[in-house]
């Protein structure tokens, strides 16, 4: 079943799929650099994320957090990234930058300790970041096929539309990356009856359907999925959870019929009665520039998926 819209419009990227959004991303590698990142982003008109870690992680959490950061910077919606580090943190900013360079994305790095403190780091961030933002002024969307779409799907409740949505997206030539709440693990084959490959957080997807492992739960699913490269995410939150957005990419929130969702009808992008093909049609419009409810209210959540306790 194809949607009515055969073409999307997106931002062409060299060596990557086109973006549905066009962001300069100021990425703090540690909680201690989030305020500098926020002040730089506000000054130059870029986006950033706020988190509470990047330090105190142990073992697989270090690899996963680093992979998450790298994957987010590689997302097609990101035109340029600037990494802001403190210098002493567990998930070293310079390692994130090294991996990005390895993947073909030369990325500037600001270190608060190396720069000379807070004010010096903000100043340096503005000097490096402003030309990146100015360079976005001339960017234009161009027509792209539906096969340019990587659709993210995050699932925190059972919903019969999940499988139908994936089927419809595949029929249009898109690829799909899915993350499912651990409580629904036993129902994975029902929710995603399609042949799929497993990917880790931050791993770029290439198969028609990929499932992200160790994606965490709740808002963490959004970050984990975004790090694997979708330009938009369709989210099925559990009925006791509100709709949430994500900083780098549009999140279409699909309402369940009950619980908290019944009280929040205006905050969902898709209601409880819409079909899978309705959802895909809204997704196509969103890709091409229509703002989600969360984007309209400038609301975004960012939560790092975690495996272990903090040290």
């Amino acid at each position: 079943m194809s949607t009515q819209i055969a073409l999307l419009s997106g931002y062409a990227r060299q060596g990557r799929r086109p973006g549905a959004r066009n962001h300069v991303f100021v990425l703090p590698s540690v909680v201690c650099s989030t305020k500098v990142s926020r002040d730089v982003a506000d000054a130059i008109g870029a986006i950033t994320v706020s988190h509470q870690h990047g330090c105190g992680h142990i073992g697989p959490d270090i690899t996963q957090a680093r992979g998450l950061f790298v994957g987010l910077a590689c997302n097609p919606n990101v035109a340029h990234t600037l990494v802001v580090s403190l210098g002493c943190e567990t998930v070293q900013g310079r390692h994130v930058v090294a991996e990005l360079e390895h993947r073909g994305f030369p990325t500037p790095l600001i270190g608060i300790q190396d720069a000379g403190g807070y004010a010096a780091a903000v100043q340096a961030g503005i000097e490096v970041g402003r030309p990146l933002v100015d360079g976005l002024d001339h960017a234009q969307r161009t027509p792209v096929g539906l096969d340019a779409l990587t659709l993210g799907v995050t699932v925190s409740r059972e919903d019969h539309r999940v499988g139908a949505l994936i089927t419809a997206a595949l029929a249009d030539g898109a690829q799909v990356v899915v993350a499912v709440d651990p409580a629904l693990e036993a129902q994975l084959d029902n929710l995603v009856p399609h042949e799929h490959v497993d990917v880790t957080v931050g791993e770029p997807v290439t198969a028609p359907v990929s499932v992200v492992r160790n994606a965490g739960a709740g808002a963490q699913l959004l970050a984990a999925t975004a790090s694997c490269g979708p330009q938009i995410i369709v989210d099925f939150p559990s009925s006791d959870q509100p709709p949430q957005g994500f900083p780098l990419l549009p999140v279409l929130s699909v309402a369940a019929g009950d619980g908290l969702h019944a009280a929040l009808s205006e905050d969902f992008d898709v209601d409880a009665l819409a079909s899978a093909s309705d959802i895909l049609a809204v997704a196509a419009e969103t890709f091409s520039g229509a703002l989600t409810r969360a984007e309209q209210r400038h609301s975004a959540s960012f939560a790092i998926p975690r495996l272990l306790r903090t040290m």
């Binding site: 909680v31 105190g56 073992g59 697989p60």
Partner: protein
Amino acid sequence: MTTELLGYLRPNGSWGFRDHVLVVPLHSALCDVAEESALAVDPDIVSLRHDWDNPAGHGDAERAHRVLHGFATNANVGAVLVLGLGPDTHSLAAALTANSTEHAVVRLDEAGGFARMRAMAEEELRRLHAAHVTPERQPAPWSALCLGLECGGSDAFSGITANPALGVASDLLVEGGGTSILAETTELLGAEHLLAQRAVTAEIGQQIIDMVRRFERDVARHGVDLIGSQPAPGNIVGGLSTIEEKSLGAARKGGTGPISGVLDFAEPPSTTGLFIMDTPGQDIEQMSGMVAAGANIVGFTTGRGTPTGSPIAPCLKISTNSDVAQRLPDLIDINAGTIIDGSATLEEVGAQILEAVIAAASGRLTKSELRRNREFAISRVRPMGV
């Protein structure tokens, strides 16, 4: 001591040293509404930001609620706006009423949507802010002070200069009737036997040993390699080679005096004195745990330099070496590197730190407060929920 301690006496008999209007979003999806409402009313209003989305039945839920409630009821807070999804607001509202803290509550389910919630939040906050009158500061006894002891970005000098100097200040404060909290269980591993010897009872000494043993077992259970996490990369560049070495230096923040008890994460001390709290070593989780327990001022030593601060407690940054104080001056309040340089003794710097603690508590803003560094974190020890 030349500076007089001046504080706000709260209706419940506790003393605060700031008078914040605080917005507490109980769910991560409400943090943007909280921040926007606060900015719309007054830039000095503090709103918390975190990633806790209150999953049903989660193993860390009680721990998370203790932190959110502890911040809302900290004596440094004069008025609170609580934002929640719905019934999640009940217990905090009840706690604020019991604490006689001026407050208002806005629920997403009753607002019927984010737009309406945003409008209601701003309206309630404007009303709260306008109605709240900051009390007059009055002379306060030292028993009013609860000093959180912290280190972050440690280097090899931490255990030689800033930590022992902070320990001198802590000893003076506790001898004068105040309270100090030493934390970071990760960074007591290797020094716990020395701390246990100072416990006021053998039982408390055993609790200290048990606290570290539990942590060791938790790490062993996960079977993870700690290379790269403890000591952290910056600690290693700074000269710290093993967790024991880091801990022996970190424990010095607690001075030499007797240890009156062991606290759970975010558990308030029941008396004055020096306490040990079971927290992770991660800077912001630790600081959040101590402030949630009632710490109303934080002394934070650093070797590499870090800009972080607390949303509601003045946080004094103490450098371990003069190089970082000179290179990163906007991050450092007091330089303990003078001890290595030879221009000051340990006792002199300890007294200097205590003087700064009294002055900061009495109203002098620290550099992290001036910058509005307001880092806050929910601590997870069971991230998978069980």
